[in-house]
Amino acid sequence: MRWQLAAFIMAGALATSSGTLMAHHSFAMFDQENPIELVGTVQEFKYTSPHSYLLLEVKGPDGSTTVWNLEGRAPSLMARDGWTSKTLQPGDEIILTIQPLRSGAPGGSWNTSIPKFKDGRPLQVTP
């Protein structure tokens, strides 16, 4: 399955908003030079080890919905920045820059990004 996300593709350099990569493993499977922006609804925020995961429902240009499996930082790092398992809730509508899987499958990484709420609310994170 190859996703055409022309509406969401961000050309250019890696658009990251925080942090530098702390790697559990090589992140080579994720295309770090061609990030994309996803707009979607949080289905589940897994605050787990070795990484947190966001299951994000995203509508494609053709109106179909796909759930992306998106790898975030580890709770060991997020907790020290003030994140909790409740920072993101099912139903939250967010905008998120990810580095997609090179294969084109609906997976990616947001290790170096911070999501934004679509309605402009600030993310409640207090170290």
């Binding site: 530098t20 080579a28 080890s49 299951l55 759930v67 499996n69 060991s76 090179r102 294969s103 499958a105």
Partner: protein, 275 residues
């Protein structure tokens, strides 16, 4: 300030550990708290990652490293085995991706690394190398406390680690160690003279994949108000290895390719529908 050390010593005493030689905490340095190493994760913090590390690899292992980089460029994991929760092992564990805690007792110093729940035991009781110990990822570590300036208090812990098993790499870029696992790691761990919240670990790795001993300096920053987090790698790791290929699990639990145009795994032991 050294309540943790006192508590551990007391617990050890209550547990029946010989108290013939009482633990005098004033002889040992204060290394309590949470020690962090800043990002990014790379073996020599003073150099760029990947080829920029200028690892002194033999021609044979430079070729292994280059093949690894080519695989990683295609979305593979190369020679980095940790994506399926294999622990870093030594010396990579001292990259301390998540913070570490150091607990000093008279006979053993423990380094507890939150990342991958790794534990190092450094024996300081004067023992010799065991003859019958099975190799392990963290290896067998023997340490020696040194009072460098004769002040009556130890300031330096010298450690040698042997008896390691693989697979291991230096860092996520896949800088390899030799398959014979004859690695010897020598460390000098000490507080900075001017800043007691800075811990140095001078690490020298001797390995048959290297043309010479490779020495790097790790500098850890102290947080005196630790906030420990459980980190169990197998809890939700979606990265899997089948055969020699790595894949990733999808949101709905199916296998996704990690590399562009990656074929599915060999299903020879499954009955094929439609054949």
């Amino acid at each position: 300030m050294r309540s943790l050390v006192v508590a551990v010593a007391l617990a050890a005493s209550c547990a029946g550990v010989s108290s013939a030689q009482a633990f005098d905490e004033s002889k040992y340095p204060d290394w309590a708290g949470e020690w962090r190493l800043g990002p990014p994760t790379k073996w020599d913090p003073s150099k760029p990652p990947g080829r920029g590390q200028e690892a002194p690899l033999t021609p044979e292992y430079q070729a292994v490293f280059e093949a690894n980089l080519a695989d990683q460029a295609a979305g593979g994991q190369g020679t980095d085995p940790t994506y399926i929760c294999i622990p870093d092992g030594m010396p990579r564990a001292m990259n301390v991706v998540f913070p570490m805690e150091i607990v000093i007792t008279p006979k053993t110093t423990y380094i507890m690394i939150e990342y991958l729940s790794m534990l190092r035991r450094i024996y300081t009781d004067g023992r010799d190398w065991p003859g019958d110990q099975e190799p392990s990822f963290m290896g067998y570590s023997i340490g020696k406390w040194v009072d460098e300036d004769g002040a009556g208090r130890y300031s330096l812990l010298e450690v040698e680690t042997r008896n390691l098993k693989g697979p291991r790499a230096f860092d996520p870029s896949g800088i390899p160690l030799h398959k014979d696992n004859q690695t010897v790691v020598k460390e000098r761990i000490y507080l900075d003279k001017a800043n007691s919240d800075l811990l140095h670990d001078e690490i020298t790795t001797i390995d048959h994949a290297l043309t010479r001993p490779w020495t790097v300096m790790k500098n850890y920053r102290r947080n005196r108000n630790p906030r420990w987090v459980e980190a169990v790698c197998m809890e939700a790791n979606p990265h899997v290895r089948i055969g020699k290929e790595n894949y990733m699990m999808s949101a709905d639990g199916y296998l996704m390719p990690a590399k562009k145009d990656q074929p599915p795994p060999d299903l020879r032991y499954f009955k094929q529908i439609g054949k």
